[in-house]
Amino acid sequence: MPESNDKITVTVDGNEVRADPGELIIEVAERAGVFVPRFCYHPRMKPVGMCRMCLVEVSSPRGPSLQPACFVPVADGMEISTESQSVQKAQNGVLEYLLLNHPLDCPVCDKGGECPLQDQTLAYGPGESRQVEEKRHFAKPIPISTLVELDRERCIQCSRCTRFANEIAGEALIDFFGRGEDTEVAIFPGKPFDSYFAGNTVQICPVGALTATPYRFKARPWDLEQVESTCTLCSVGCRIAVQSSANEVVRHLGIDIESVNHSWLCDKGRFGYLAMRSETRILEPSLRENGELVEVSWTDALEKAAALISEAKLVHGPQAIGFIGGARLTNESAYAWTKVAKAVVATDNTDAQLGDGMPAELVLGLPRATISDACKAKKLIVIGEDLKEVAPVLFLRLRPLIEEGKIDLVEFSTHETSLSKLAKASIPLVPGEIGTRVRALIGFIKGTKDAGEGIGIDVQEIKNASQALGSLEDNSDLVVIFSNSSAIENTQDLQAGILALEESFKNAKFMPVLRRSNIFGALDMGLSPNLLPGRVTLSGAKEYYKKQWGSVPEKSGMSALEMLKAASESKLKVLVLLGCDPISDFPDSKLAKDALLKVDTVIFVDSLANSSLDYADIVLPASMDSEREGSFTNLEGRISRISKKVSALGSSWPDWAIASELADALGEDLGFGSLDDIAKEIARLAPAYQGLRSTLSLRSEVDEGILLPVTSTKVEIKRKQGDPMVHLGLISVEHQGAPLKSGASNEPGVYSDEKQKPEIGSTVSLISKSDIKSDINLEPETEASGAKSLRLVVTRRLFDRGTQIYNSPFFRELISEQEVRIHPETASSLGIDNGGKVSISGESKKVSGLVVLDNRVDQSGVVLTWNVSEEDVRLLASDSEKSAHWVEVEN
């Protein structure tokens, strides 16, 4: 750390330490290797100084006094004692007090063995209690949500959970009730702790007061084994510790990573492992015989698959074969599948997105913002989906900063989002109008156009937005986060809006949010038409890869939509589904069904059964997270490790092995005998990944991951000395467990590999702005047709009937009802009441739902939710190539 001039000097237990003014005593002491015991303090939340465990003796002109180290900032010349007699007495006293009413049911408590109350009592507390009275009793435990149970007897009233809910998640669903000794954590009557983030409170509770229902009594901490890994349930890529007992994953914990998740997880990620043991797990390869799937050996299945692919290729050419999906794969597996498709089969028909995403060039071609950039930005534009629903922990990182006023938010959304109330301006969106409204704002800022003139939105919002964004000149502190705001339209309109922003705000950075898993890794690995691995285009890197791989597709291939169309016209003969379910996940369900019916062969590579399985001819079981390893690229382009902890169930294989064996059966050797072989090839060939030392990318200590493209051979290992009160339950003593009294810190290290210098751009150039198609049809279909006068919006929720989720028993209850969000004025003109049941009719179908009046819905729009009920909202739309769909709402 560079010495700055305004540092001050304090002494901690007699040793001089340099510190920044304003740093908390607890932090300074920690840097000096002195651990001050604590309960309520959590470095990712504001200190409250409540538990009094961290009292230290501090000198002052009026003599020494006991002060909470977590709350009092250091001052120059301050003398701090953490071990004086009075400190020890206070620590002893606080612990004795905490234990007075504590049930000490450690033997049946999930926390026993990893409990800060146990640990700190051992280190700083009394040997036994002097109390002879009866302890306070409560009924225990009480469920406060489907996932969390509360044991009030064990609670030490540290308020970590309530502060998390309030300060970080912004949902004050739990709070203290009562006063003094009778203080208890409580939910409000009839309102469960239904938060996407409830699991975090379990992780940070310093005792066993909050426990996770799925984990209760599943394991004892000393029986747990652990690896550090990455959550792959969305593209944020939170760092997790995967813990297992008896070869079964029993818990995920969030690891505190400065640049990504600050130790938080969403409950989808935290409990997603429950899907591993679901009944719908596919365990054996199978072939369809006489309409039934029959288990076969891997050899038979692969040979059959290879034979059908070869035949189709021979008869109809490589373009008769297509690969859809791939976001679920690790980078290495995605690379292997790309190589199978593009080098072995020689088709460019690959698409990891399912028609509801964004063009790969737009995603990869803009100057990319990191999560830290977004958190440090002064101005933020969020366009599209509610971030809480599609990138939960990104939302969690941003929300408190917006609430504190550190970030000014301008939001473009189709309905009220979790951030709307905090936004400086909230501009309504409807499909077909995104470009128009973005340009209206820019026009207003430039002064060339009256605010919202003729586009039917509240002028005041445009004015507020323009005020929040300031001038166009200096916008290096602006970050734009964007996603597709409605799942069933094409994204031309969005693309137009983003390009307009890019053009006007020259220094802004962009963060595309695609929700699916490792979608950024899949795109980076070339699983998209016209892409090749390493963020390069087929046209740009054809020669380069031809030299390396021997062959590449001659021409650019089809998107998922085009492949399904071709299949429905019997032009596509073989469809390989790489962990995807077009039947329930493709915007146009009619087309998806038709395509899967008509196509000759469906090769289904996945871990869990889904609706598309019914159409599969060959089923190849893939192993799931924690059964496989590899790397992951998140929405920032940050690569981190996915680790294996348990053996794969049944005969499932990691995807890369399936790809490699299939290539073998096709008579080609991918050259991959191990995962490391692939990692090395990626680092050698894929331009944006060049210089990434394979061993490094797979090292778990590289906590912060590596941001791509690699610009240096040096990677700093930044993990701070572990705080056992942050990393509750994390086992690795080496990395996490700070010795309680004092301790050697893990020196941040620099790992470098001089031999392997990156050769970035030496041969091909990375995808950039110039690759983004700007010949966009800017005249969207905005005409209402007949009686259908409202524009349909279909939004995503974190919990829907998607495969992993619907298969976890604890999540089923979290899937919301079908809501029909509509502007109050539109509702009253249609004679519709809040909470009433209405039906929405579109092209071919009706869907029913409950009305929610929402001021932020455009008056010409109606907002439904994707995949939450039996009724299929997709059937309201004709086809997903349009940029707007019109529907009618009736009582």
Binding site: M50, L55, K89, Y97
Partner: protein
Amino acid sequence: MAVTSFDPIVSKRLRIPNSHTLEVYLSNDGYVGLKKALSMNPEDVASEVMTASLLGRGGAGFPAGRKWAMLKNDLVKYLVINGDESEPATFKDHELVEKDPHQIIEGTIIAAYALGVTQAFIFCRGEFALGFERLQSALNEAYEYGALGRDIFGSGFSLDMVIHPGAGAYICGEETALLESLEGKRGYPRIKPPFFPAVIGLYGKPTVVNNMETVSNLPWIVINGGAAFAALGEGSSAGTRLFALSGHVNRPGWYEIEMAKTTFRDLIEHPDLGGGIRMGRSLKAFIPGGVSAPWFGPNEMDMPLSQDAVAQAGSMLGSGSVVVMDETTCPVRAAWRITKFFSRESCGQCTPCREGSGWIERTMRRIELGAGRMEDIDLVLDACDNISPGLSWPPKQTTICVLGPSIPSSVNSAITMFRDDFVAHIKDGKCNYA
């Protein structure tokens, strides 16, 4: 009437019928002080208060003038009047709010004028049903009379005032808990730093918090001048003060007396004041300043009611309530009941106060009921020591606010002064006073 002769200040209207109405108030010098203040510079008003050496009457006894001088200048700043009076045996604000609400309002307006504040709040204990009602009517009358609102009496000074009922928590009398409560949050005392509401107070803005009685003195001070106030009393204990006398005296009630010129013996025994211990019994102990204060015994009877003298002797005048215990009082029971109060009223933030108060209360109860063990005496003292290390005066603390270190006061006093009584309870397995 009193021991020294002086014209009563804050209590002068308390015995007049209908003193709570504007009509009676106006015919007894009502709003004269305000009118005079409005004709002065705000700074001059403040300097009169500084000269008066008016000590805060809420408990801490901090000079009002100095507190005002600390108010940070800001576009928005607030004045909050503390009328949450909930300490057992303290009932002087109760009297003032029921019998002379206009005096509180007038004092508040004067303070606001001196401080340049345009929004004031009066936080009044919710259980003062009658007082709260009268305060509200007085406020309405004051608005109608032109003493509140825009351009008060044509002076150009404007002030709005809101009264807010407490919701039944003693801790909301602690000024920062009060501010939290006023903001609509849980009544949790704020942790220091920031050290003074005068810098960061209500809604994060500079705020003066003064007690009801403190501001009730202001009309008189403005009319008669700070020097006249300072001429009463002695040294830092200037002026007169309203004391709530309760317990085993013949004439319990409120008495305005000249500070430092009157002794505890005067207050308790003078025929015009306490009138002596009931039934001719002898004194066992008395609490000089509310149940947070350490106890005094017969030896301290001749001590003057002076803030400094009492502090030097290891206690405080605190909230201005004197509780007299005669020889028939069980000290164990008395200290236990006081501890029970604190245990019920702890806000629960700090481990030592939340858990310690309950444990000490249960142990004291056990001793009182005859189930104590010899080691319990030192145990209780040690438990107290973990809330207030050293059990010294002024107290040290391991807690956020001073409710915590108030718990040991009575327990420590009872044990130190009457250890034999504790031993007897334990040996005899019962309370001999019962």
